[in-house]
Amino acid sequence: MSDYLHIQNIHKDFSGLKVLTGVEFKVKEKERHAVIGPNGAGKTTLFNIISGKFKPSSGAILFKGQDISGKPPHVLNRLGLSRSFQITNVFQELSVFNNILAGVRSHYGLRYHFFKKPDRDRNICERVEAIIDEVGLMDVKDQPANSLSYGKQRALEIGITLSTEPELILLDEPTAGMTREETNQAIKMINQVTAGRTLIIIEHDMEVVFSLANTISVLHYGTILVSDTPEKIRNDQRVKDAYMGEG
């Protein structure tokens, strides 16, 4: 049986700047996989490549046996892959409802229809509300995204990511900048909404990593230093030296 997701020897340079130099790791189906590493290690770049924003300079990405590297984002999304952004990337002027609606109707195939009104479809609207409820934004459903608190904007970011019913979810530092309490809430929510799906999460907060992930990959200087269970990572001397310092 082939692997669910296999990142194969990915290289990426930006006009000479070598950011990724042979990233290699595997993700099993339904796994909760954390990618950690210092600032500027290339974590977001890796997500950008997996999700189709950038083409890798070389290497391949096998998703359920198919090489998806270099495919455009909209194609990858339709294959069941969805990502969130480190810097909130929502539809600022639109209501929470319409933010989520954009993805839900896309999943239902209502992208370019010249006659159908998406907000008149009961199934779609129900699904939108369900997602809003899951990410805990029911009380601000009709408010524009730019009026939300930072924590709620981050929740919306995740809600949008969920809105196309992905089987593989990539979350880029979903709790960055949150207070302790917001973070705890966010972890609980992420655990719930990603249940039954495959999750890859970039995270600096080690508490979040250890409470969410069952596999951790450490990205360091453009390659994966080690990819293993949280216990092994915690006790790995190389990781201690390179990244976690005091452990």
Binding site: H74, V90, F91, Q92, L94, A102, H113, K117, P118, I160
Partner: protein, 331 residues
């Protein structure tokens, strides 16, 4: 709720329009016909400018193409039905819009604007040089075919009859454009202007979206052009010139690009001003230019913004768009 209100206004406008021939003199009815045609042209233009945020300097190529194809078809195909003359104009613009759109869809901003300008210039050059088909500088004169409805035929020699035809067909096209802004595709256009990158990550092919919109707005402009020919029973290369693009740009700007109805108002004001000013002075383009410059400088939101502000003052109604843009939820 808001849409119900709008439906009511639409019906009221059609009813008012239906009574106009009883009230207006021929000269003014003529002008009203022209206003309705240009309103459609301006609305189609604003779907690009106001909704998608795409500044095109080439919208007249579709208007002119529709206008010329209708004229050429009527001249060369004896006994051509009115519907088919219009259809030929529209179908040709759909094809042209699709082909040109495919070449443009990767470009935005200044490149898009310049490329549309270049294509418009190309169309204009062809229209000027291809004298045997387009009549070149002399233009083409036609006679409006009668409207055959199967069981009966309605003479289109009558201005009033043609006015009703315009009111119904062109009016319906404007209403459809309004409806379009609430459909999946219409919303996609708005969302793309808001955040195109995120749309890609939600499964939208944004190039295809732009192509569909470009083709659609081109076809609508083509329909307006087709009626333009039928209205004047004449078409000249001015219909496909950059001047015509400037005219539609002016209408949209004067009326305001941030609302759906702004450009309709703009067409109204533009056509009336043009008619009266050109009666008074030969230098009317100078005055129009002056008005345009002052509008852009002092009221960039156009007349629709002025009206919304007044309404807000009078009724204290809070404008939920914050005067922001058509991209806000309700338009």
């Amino acid at each position: 709720m808001k849409q119900k209100n709008t439906s009511f206004i639409i019906i009221a406008l059609f009813l008012a329009g239906a009574f106009m021939p009883l009230i207006l003199k021929q000269y003014h009815l003529n002008m009203l016909t022209e206003i309705i045609i240009f309103a459609l042209f301006a609305v189609s233009y604003n779907l690009l400018l106001g909704y998608a945020g795409l500044l095109s300097f080439g919208h007249a190529m579709f208007f002119g193409l529709g206008a010329f194809m209708t004229a050429v078809a009527i001249i060369h195909i004896p006994g051509l039905a009115l519907w088919n003359a219009i259809l030929i104009g529209v179908v040709t613009t759909i094809i042209a819009g699709f082909v040109i759109g495919s070449l443009l869809l990767r470009h935005k901003g200044a490149y898009f604007a310049l490329l549309t300008l270049a294509f418009n210039a190309l169309f204009y050059a062809v229209a000027t040089k291809w004298h045997s088909v387009t009549g070149g500088d002399d233009g083409l004169s036609i006679t409006r075919p009668d409207l055959s409805l199967g069981f009966t035929s309605i003479s289109m020699a009558s201005l009033t009859h043609f006015y009703y035809l315009t009111l119904i067909i062109v009016g319906a096209a404007i209403v459809f454009c309004w409806y379009f802004t609430h459909t999946a595709m219409g919303k996609t256009v708005l969302l793309m202007r808001e955040n195109e990158e995120r749309m890609k990550f939600l499964g939208y092919n944004t190039n295809i979206s732009r192509l569909l919109l470009f083709t659609f707005t081109g076809a609508v402009a083509g329909l307006a052009g087709s009626f333009y020919t039928l209205h004047f029973q004449f078409v000249s290369i001015s219909a496909i010139s950059v001047d015509m693009t400037t005219a539609v740009l002016l209408m949209a700007f004067v009326g305001g690009t941030k609302t759906f109805w702004g450009p309709i108002l703009g067409a109204f004001v533009y056509i009336i001003l043009q008619n009266y000013l050109s009666n008074i002075t030969d230098r009317w383009p100078l005055f129009m230019g002056f008005i345009f410059v002052s509008m852009v400088l002092f009221i960039p939101g156009g007349l629709s913004e002025v009206i919304m502000n007044i309404r807000q003052r009078l009724f204290g109604k809070k404008d939920n768009n914050g005067g922001k843009s058509a991209a806000s939820e309700e338009v």
